[in-house]
Symmetry: none
Subunit: 416 residues, 2 copies
């Protein structure tokens, strides 16, 4: 399915308000493993909207329109879609029922039959709006599906969450569906479906529509399986996992499911009853910031030492000055010593360290910008790794933090 | 003139980042009394970009493209415009000069002649980028004008302000303009122009078009002054500052100019030759993460102790257990002790501490979620403050970090 988004809002184009809906809707689609193909914003103007619909229908099967469905003069979305599809506006009993229901939800009496909300273009279906008054509407032309919702973020969020699954994501015969999400790391998208397993995509596609979403240092693969019963879904999901189990990609899988890495780490830490702390140099607090975005993390996150200054590494983390001088501050040896140091100093079960160069300045031939060393220390063992990435300062900090959080996840899973 | 905007950014469509540029560019156009006709966002994909250019050129005389002008493989804007207008990419002496100049502005040597920045489609003109490395470019096909700029908000803002007037707006009379930016904190937008100074907006408007942008815990006010000479601009800018100096708003101003808070802190720290460190509890590393996003910060940012666990406050920062038990962990007394502790432990000139409740759980009647205490310790003095905010966990972390960075800025300015 290819989805286009049409924002209908004069205020967005003249700079009076910020468009928050594109990012909201992209997020909702992403949570259903879909992506926006293209987004357009136009003013409340019939000919502009027609042009945009022509442009979007070149490639899209679904168009979501946001805005212009209220009762006032400048709410022209309904009339404009009617003229676009050459449909007359007629009274609809279903529309009146939905409008009445919306008013009920909002605790207000419905003004009655003559209200603009009771009229719809022929063949359109009204959509309930539990957070507002204006109904949305849906039309399937055969060639293209259109969903129109109000521009109010809290209204459209709930409406799309409510209606997209039944209107768009599920087909007639297959009334049940499920997204099976397999998350890989360390291998770029083109390699996963290229040299690692060239037949993977086609095998998965035989079970449901496949999508692939590159994230920091990894790729999330989604398969939308459908069936007539829960049992059928379970069987198909099992087959998806079997395909992965038999694929060389399996060694790159770090999770099956849609929770965030930070949430999974906290879940594992709770399961294993382990606490953790960071010694952050190049990431400068980002690992701690990411983990503390998860509510309830305080029970298992002890804290961190952000050791930007070499003296902090030496005095607070007890890394020896000789080691830094001989091996370099960005070295596996120093990373190991930092991980041990933060474990001793803050007292968690697991100490994770990051030392690297996020640039732009400071690189050398042996240690270019983008180099990072990660250390892990537990009561049983200590380990270190060295990686080399590309990117600007911001991207590098993000990649370094992702690698460090993966090292923490591994340590938790290994019972280390 | 009819203007179309093309956002080229895969991350906007898959929901990974919010598009801030449409609203920025609409604002810039508005300050020049122009409006966007239509805006489109597409992924970094040649055929999608071609389709969007076809769509936009139906009606527009000017197309602004934002994004995809960097040096990496997915930066395809230049090559895509070349193929769209059927122009060959050729070496351009002017492009090399501009690229060299951009690198000079950023304090870095230019890699040299073979760099992708030295190539342009035939007939295109390179555009300087005083805030970044990647040059923009301009093309006038006779039928349509195209301006391409990077997607980084602070780069594109300055570039459009710089180049739009000479390339597009026929500004015969007012050939000079300048944005005077005044940044306030601690008072919401409606109060600034309401009870604090109801005549401020009109007074400023008499000198140029006024804009107001609410940010975390503050409002940025901009006045676009124009004139026929540098001297005229200087006089008008002086008048803007005079209006603010005579306004009750003046006590809420923390900066005049457009740099970020983090950049200003680093600049001040360099001026005063002071180092700083954080003791972060409720912000969980966010203050450190924000400061380490600024290149070159390592000379003045010593590090941080993220003391999420109470034991870390006690053992690493030497806050007394009795103090925590008697005053509560979110108290000015504990904040003071944390600030002193991080100063002793990590050895910076200035120690800044944050202890608070970001929620959702953990609040009480005396200390509800949203409470934060900030402490500052220097060789001369120590101070603390208590604030109460509203918001979800993420917003609260952001507000707490903003308040803490303001406390650091104040300490630097006070020579404390």
């Amino acid at each position: 399915m290819k989805t286009g988004l049409l924002i209908i809002a004069t205020e967005v184009l003249n700079g009076k308000i910020k468009d928050l809906n594109t990012s909201l809707i992209a997020g909702i689609l992403r949570s259903h493993f879909h992506e926006l193909e293209v987004q357009v914003a136009v003013a409340d103007d019939e000919s502009r909207i027609h042009q945009a619909l022509n442009f979007l229908s070149q490639d899209c099967d679904l168009i979501i329109t946001a805005g212009g469905v209220g009762p006032t003069k400048d709410d022209i979305t309904k009339a404009t879609l009617a003229s676009y599809f050459k449909k007359a506006l007629t009274y609809s009993e279903e529309a009146e029922k939905i409008a009445e229901e919306n008013y009920q939800n909002m605790g207000r009496p419905f003004p009655g039959k003559d209200h603009p909300y009771t009229f719809l273009p022929e063949g359109f279906r009204p959509l309930s709006n539990p957070n507002g008054f204006a109904p949305g509407f849906f039309f399937d032309s055969g060639k293209i599906k259109i969903i129109s919702v109000p521009g109010v973020p809290r209204e459209l969020t709930q409406m799309l969450e409510l209606h997209l699954p039944t209107l768009v994501f599920s087909s007639k015969n297959n009334s049940f569906f499920r997204h099976v999400i397999i998350r890989t790391r360390g291998v770029p998208e083109e390699k996963i479906f290229g040299e690692v397993d060239p037949s993977l995509w086609d095998k998965l596609q035989s079970l449901g529509s496949v999508s692939s979403l590159p994230i920091i240092y990894g790729v999330d693969i989604g398969v939308r399986v459908s069936g007539n019963s829960e049992q059928e879904l379970n069987e198909r999901e099992k087959k998806v996992h079997q395909i992965f189990n038999q694929s060389p990609v399996s060694s790159h899988i770090w999770h099956r499911g849609s929770e965030t890495l930070e949430e999974i780490i906290l879940k594992k830490a709770k399961e294993k009853n382990k606490t953790f702390a960071f010694a952050e140099s190049a990431t400068g607090g980002l690992c701690s910031h990411r983990m503390t975005d998860v509510p309830g993390v305080s029970s298992h996150f002890t804290g961190a030492v952000v050791c930007y200054d070499t003296n902090v590494k030496i005095q607070t983390l007890h890394v020896s000055k000789e080691l830094i001088d001989s091996k370099g501050v960005v070295s596996e040896e120093v990373a190991l010593s930092m991980a041990k140091g933060v474990r001793e100093n803050l007292g968690p079960d697991i100490g994770i360290s990051i030392t690297g160069l996020a640039g732009p300045a400071g690189g050398s031939t042996e240690t270019p910008v983008g180099t990072v060393c990660i250390g892990v220390a537990t009561s049983l063992q200590s380990k270190s790794w060295r990686y080399q990435f590309k990117g600007d300062r911001n991207l590098l900090k993000n990649r370094f933090s992702q690698i460090a959080l993966f090292a923490l996840l591994d340590a938790l899973e290994e019972n280390a």
